[in-house]
Each structure stands twice: as structure tokens, then as C-alpha cells.
Symmetry: C2
Subunit: 356 residues, 2 copies
């Protein structure tokens, strides 16, 4: 008997065609050829995908559950993604909706408890902001980081647009910002973390992670849909003491359900925290999507973001609960010269929520 794992697709189809469509996906995501041309019985029985269930969701939408053979995936997360959705991603009427991840991909960073221990924050939600705009010099970004940190934020991350640009090269920017945050920490007594963004190929990401570790940093950010699943998994394995924050850039929400992509797959790559666009912000996820995404991702730390304003702290913490880091970027930066005070107001609002 071959070991299989179940993958669920949502397919737009008419009822008369759905069985053929489902069988087509099962073949496309396994042997990718006419079954009539396969003369090896073991391939037909053990390798070809099997349609396990078809549910009519109404309105011309069907949930199709297919059992894929674990043997086709091996242990490479890139190959997992390939077998989950490689060719079928090219069909516009199919969404990859859910996966019962095989055991070997279920090892996850213990994001939330690790961060609570490191920062000495046992119960309340976390606060965070982002360093931007890109185009500022490393010195100006470091100054901004220090002012945010003096407001008492838990996390200050690189904007995901910050890479290794000439105006703030990684090797210059990261040590300066780490020092600036360390100065603020000595003054506030808090354990604020700076999260630099790692970009480039695996070698470049590793070299940058080493620079960050040398600066005493233990939190970093990476965008798995840009870096590649295999690269992120290799990176997280190589730095077991670092908590990796997954950024959703290139997440192409319409084709892989974010509940799955961000909620299940990014943590399976070893990311201990997942940043995602919250409902009610600049991007269009629904409250139901956000709720399921977060439930899937835990114990990774949930990091709702994307246009959050200070007046939504209570509402969002009521919704997400305490194992959350609220990330307010642009809307905090609007305070400009009052940035430290605005950060402190943010920190205070979150702290007060914890008291209630």
C-alpha cells in the first residue's frame, strides 16, 4: 500500500463535467500523461493521484479531494509545491484550497512561545512597526528605528522592499539599525527586536543571516514565494535559533487559498511567524479567511498587517487574541516628529487591552 496525503482543490465546473475535471487534476498532479499509456501496474496503483471525494459547494463550485502519493514528493518543499499545484496553477478555474500536510512537513518552529520567552512577554499581544520608506540612508533608517524602539515597540522590521539597494546596503544598514535599537533597549529596559529582511539566493540569504546573527539578532524576515520554498526550508534549518517571519509578497491570493499558503505552508517551511494582510485593511482578505489562517498557523505568531490604524487596536485584538503581533507601519510613520510618542500610545493601547 502506498502512503497518500489529501489535497483539496476548489474547481469551477458544471455538475456534468466535475468527475472528469477531478480525474484530470488527479492525473495532472501525478503522472501527467494518459493512463492508457502506463503499462506498469505499480504506477497505476501507487503513483497516480486518486479522486477521494467531490463535494458540490453550490453556485458552480466544487471541492475536489485528491489523494497524492507521498513518494512523488520526497522531502523537498519545492517539490511538494510542484506536486500540489505546479501545472494545475495554470488552470484559471482551480484554487488550491487545503492540504493534509504529510508528517515530514509538519515540523514547525515554535514561534509564539519562543518569542514570548525571548522578549519576556508572557501574555499580552506584541506590537511592531516597519522601517520605511526605502530610499532613506541606513543612518536615517537607524534613527527611525531608535525612535520607534524608544516608544516601546516589541518588533521593528525592515520594510519588505528593503533588500540590498545602494542607498541602504544590507551590510551597512543592519549593523547600524541593530546598534540603534540596542541603544534604545538600554534606555527602555525592554527587549525590542529588530527584524531585517533577507533577500537574494540561498547563499546571499545565508551570508546576510550570518551578518544579522553577528549583530546579535535572532529574528529575520523572508518572502517564501520570492525566495523559493526549498531555499527557505534550507535557510530555517541552517539557523535553528532564529525565528523567521514569513512575508506574503507574491502570495497571489487568488490562486492558492491564503489560509493554506500563509497559514499552513509557510510555517511548514520553518517560519515561526506569519505576516498577512488583515481584513479591513488595504487588502481584501475576509474575517473568515483571517480566522482560519491564524488557526492554521499557530503556534507560529500571527502578524496581521496592511494598513492597520491605532484606533483599531481593540477590535483587532478582540478578534485575533493575545498570540498576535499587531504591525502598524505607514500609519505610525504619519506621526513624523511625534513618532516615539505615537509608538508609545500604540504600546499603551495594546498593554491596556491585555489588562481588560
Amino acid at each position: 500500500m502506498t502512503e497518500r496525503f489529501s489535497v483539496t482543490y476548489h474547481v469551477r465546473s458544471d455538475a456534468g463535467s466535475i468527475e472528469v475535471r477531478a480525474q484530470g487534476i488527479a492525473v495532472e498532479q501525478s503522472v501527467e500523461m494518459p493512463l492508457a499509456a502506463i503499462d506498469e501496474p505499480a504506477v497505476l496503483s501507487d503513483i497516480v493521484g486518486q479522486v477521494e471525494q467531490i463535494d458540490d459547494l453550490g453556485g458552480g463550485l466544487f471541492a475536489v479531494r485528491i489523494g497524492l502519493a507521498l513518494a512523488t514528493v520526497g522531502d523537498d518543499p519545492g517539490q511538494l509545491l510542484n506536486m500540489l499545484f505546479g501545472n494545475t496553477s495554470l488552470h484559471e478555474d482551480v484554487i488550491l484550497r487545503d492540504v493534509a500536510l504529510p508528517e515530514r512537513f509538519r515540523v514547525r518552529a515554535d514561534g509564539t512561545p519562543t518569542l514570548r520567552r525571548r522578549l519576556g512577554v508572557p501574555r499580552r499581544p506584541f506590537t511592531g512597526s516597519a522601517l520605511k520608506p526605502q530610499g532613506l540612508s541606513s543612518e536615517r533608517l537607524a534613527d527611525l528605528a531608535e525612535r520607534l524602539a524608544r516608544g516601546g515597540l516589541d518588533f521593528i522590521k525592515d520594510d519588505h522592499g528593503l533588500a540590498d539597494q545602494a542607498y541602504s546596503p544590507f551590510a551597512v544598514r543592519v549593523p547600524l539599525i541593530a546598534e540603534a535599537v540596542a541603544r534604545a533597549v538600554r534606555s527602555t529596559g525592554l527587549l525590542t527586536r529588530y527584524i531585517p529582511s533577507l533577500t537574494g539566493d540561498l547563499e546571499q540569504m545565508r551570508a546576510r543571516a550570518r551578518i544579522a546573527v553577528d549583530c546579535g539578532l535572532d529574528c529575520m524576515m523572508v518572502a517564501p514565494m520570492i525566495a523559493g520554498f526549498s531555499a527557505v526550508a534550507a535557510l530555517t534549518r541552517g539557523f535553528p535559533d532564529v525565528t523567521f517571519f514569513a512575508h506574503p509578497a507574491m502570495g497571489g491570493a487568488a490562486r492558492i487559498a491564503p489560509e493554506l499558503l500563509i497559514g499552513r505552508l509557510f510555517p511548514a517551511l520553518g517560519c515561526g511567524a506569519v505576516i498577512f494582510p488583515t481584513y479591513g485593511g488595504r487588502f481584501g482578505y475576509s474575517p473568515a479567511t483571517c480566522r482560519e489562517l491564524v488557526a492554521n498557523a499557530r503556534p507560529a505568531l500571527a502578524v496581521p498587517a496592511g494598513g492597520i490604524t491605532l484606533n483599531r487596536v481593540t477590535e483587532l485584538l478582540d478578534f485575533y487574541g493575545p498570540d498576535t503581533m499587531l504591525l502598524i507601519g505607514g500609519n505610525l510613520l504619519l506621526a513624523q516628529e511625534r513618532i516615539t510618542e505615537e509608538s508609545a500610545a500604540f504600546v499603551g493601547a495594546v498593554a491596556r487591552h491585555g489588562d481588560t
Copy 2:
């Protein structure tokens, strides 16, 4: 003056909102924060994206052209993708439609002329097929490769599902198949190429490429949307004598126009040949999309695929012209014990087309 390059998005919107939407994308893909919070004049003038043009395409669709600052990208192709579409990919009503690639990303492998020279095929289209189903042993895949090669095909590639699975590990499979094809080549006198598929992280892909080079191979396949743009660029730079075939897996056709993703971006990573789902096959690209994709990609070799049958050779070659490799996988394999003869018929049909 900052150097900018133009990026075109297609946006679903009503006419009254399109200017605000366009400005929103320009900000999202550059500084990602309220402009009012930026106090550095150089960032406002040189870094923030600029809306250059808005065209009403009718039916609620608009083409929005935005000038992004080259300085935000640096020279990393992953960061290029990030700045082109990172966050905006999360908006379901926006498609990344085209890019005037900056000069530094315009270096391309000279795919077609290189392959013509190597295989001694000056004018006619190329032929190819794929090794599948996965689940077969390396020995059986090698046997299949030999029989296809004896039919006179130009290229025999790994199915994109073949990675490093237990039933046909890369280090076992590739030397066996390379030997089998070499045996056929000694018999046919043709210069048939075997194209193994590289998967995994950058280190694994490099190690596998070295195995393939040691087997005398000079063509390899990679899926940039799974491997990551930065990794593919590093790989192609490291093996300048290898022609890389880009596989469209995870290409998410609906969100990045395939004319751009496969036609422009994959060649910009150093891939000398691009495989894509042709019109009239299992996937839904239109003839117009295929025509533009191929025009964009050249001099990379165009490799239409995805359910091609032998009776379409004339039609497809009339459409794509001679700088093409026709890839017939599953439909050739249906011939089973007559696979060599069917391959020869395919080769003959392509050769005859060249004579007309």
C-alpha cells in the same frame, strides 16, 4: 534625475476610481507608506513610483503604466519580482501585464542559435518528448529514453514531476538516461539531447547540474516560479555553457500575464528555452497570448507543449515557425511498444514541414 523603468498593470476599476487606484499601486510598489509621512525630498522625487499613463481598455479594464525607480531593484532578480508585483499580487483585480526590463536584466542566453549549432540543425523546428510516468525505475526511464531517441527526436526531457524521488533518484537516473541516449545517438548519428530536471535549493540544483555536466549533458530544465528567481539567475550564471529550459510550473497564469512571465522574465534569468502551454491544448492560453509570448522570448527557443498531438504538427509549425521545439509527451507515449516508430513519424512530420 533618477533612472526609471515602466511597468504596466491591468486593473479592473470604474473610471471614477482609476486615478486613485493607479496612484495606490505606484505607492505600494515603491515606498509602501503614506506620502504625507515622507519628509525626505529625494525619496519623494526619486524613489516613489510615478503614474505615467492610464489607458481605458473598455469594459472596466484599465492599463496603468507606472515608472519605478531602478534604484529600488538593485541587480537581484528576486527583488525585481518583489518590486514588480510583491504586494500588489495580493489584489485580485490587478494583473502584472508588462515590463520594460531594465538593461541589467536584459542579458539573455542565446538559446535558439546555440541549440541549432550544437545539434547541427540549421533551420527546421526541433522535436522533443518527456520521460514519464514518474514512479518508473531509473532503468525503465532510461529504456524509454533510448527508444524515443532511436526515433530520432532532438530532445528528451524529464517530466517536470521527476525530482529526486526514491524510485528514480537524480544521481542514479541521470547517468543511466544519459548513457541510454548516448547509445541511441551512436546508432542514429543524430545529436539528441537529454534534458534532466533540476529541483531543490540552490546548492542541490548546483550539485545536480554538476552531475549532469559530468554525464556530458548541456541542456537542463528548471521551474523558476518554484526555484525562485534569484536561485535560477545564480544557477544560469554558474553554468554558462548549459542551455536552461524554463518550465512554467506554478506560473499562476491569471495574475502575471504569461507573455511577460514566460516570454520576458524567464529569459531574463538566463534561460535559453521556454516551455509553455500552447493554445488548443490542455491549458487555456489564447493564440494571441502564445504569439506575443514567443515574440518576447526570442532568441530563447520557443517550446510549445501541453497536450500536443501528432496531427497538429503542421498547424503548430505554421503558427510558431521554425525556431521552435515541438514537445509531445503523453500523446507520444500512448504508442507504447511502437514508441520508436511513433517518434520517427513525429520527426518525419517535422522534417517534411521544413521541406515545404
